[in-house]
Symmetry: C2
Subunit: 146 residues, 2 copies
Amino acid sequence: MSTYADVAVGDVDEFGRYEVTKGEILSFAERYDPQPFHVDEEAAAESMYGGLIASGWHTCAMTMRLLVENSLDEEGSLGSPGVDEIRFRRPVRPGDVLSVRTEVTDKRPLESDPRRGLVKSHVETSNQDDEIVLSMETAMFVRRGE
Amino acid sequence: MSTYADVAVGDVDEFGRYEVTKGEILSFAERYDPQPFHVDEEAAAESMYGGLIASGWHTCAMTMRLLVENSLDEEGSLGSPGVDEIRFRRPVRPGDVLSVRTEVTDKRPLESDPRRGLVKSHVETSNQDDEIVLSMETAMFVRRGE
C-alpha cells in the first residue's frame, strides 16, 4: 500500500516471515497478559491448550510488525480509527513462523478531512502449515493527494 | 470476574492504574509498530498527532494487563475467541495514567463444551482526565461449574 490513489478494492498482498520464539511469548505475556497458559509452561501443558501459547494481543502485535514492514507506506500511513472482528482462530506456539495476507475491502475519502482517506482490509495471519491463526478487519487513515 | 456462575449481565467494574512512559511507548513500538508517530519524537511532533503517541496495539496490551491483574480469575479464565469493535478514540501519550471500566453485556453456555461459558463485556480504557482512549467488545471463555 502506498498513497490513497494507489489502493484498489480487491488488491491482495502476501508477505512476511516472523519466527515466534518461546522467549518472546514469555516476555510479552509476562508484561501484558500474564495468564498461566501464556507464562507458565507447566500450567500451559495441563491446560486445554496443551502447551504454551502466545497472547492473542501478541499475535496482533507481531502481525502489525509485518504490516508496517511490508505493507504500510511510511509517508502515507496516518494511523487507525480501530479494528473489527479480531478472531483468534488457532493457537500460536513457540517455533511457529507467521506470514500475512491482506485484501483491500473498501476505500473512501474522509468527509471531515480532504487530506485523508480510509482504507479497510481483511487481514489473515497464517502459520508455517498455512493454517490461519488470526483474522481481522483493519481500517487505516491514508494520505490523499499531494 | 470469577467463575461463570458469579458473572451477571450488567455487572460493572472499574479498576487499575497504568502509568504510560515514553520509554515503554518507544520500546513497544520499535518492536511491533515502528511508524514515525510512535517511534520518532521529531516526526511525531510534526505529524497530525502533534507528539509521540502509543501504538493502538500497545494500548490494547496495557488494557489487557489491567484486566488480568484486576478482573480475570486465574482459574476461571480460559482464553478468548476474539475481540470486536476496537476503537482508538483518543491518542495515548507519555505521562498518561490509564484505568479500565468493564460492563458485562452477555453470557451463555458453550454448546460445544459444557465445561465452558462465553462472557462478553464492553471495555473502556480512560486517561487521567476521564477521557475514553479505547473501547472494545471482548469475549472470554470462562470455566463453568466444578
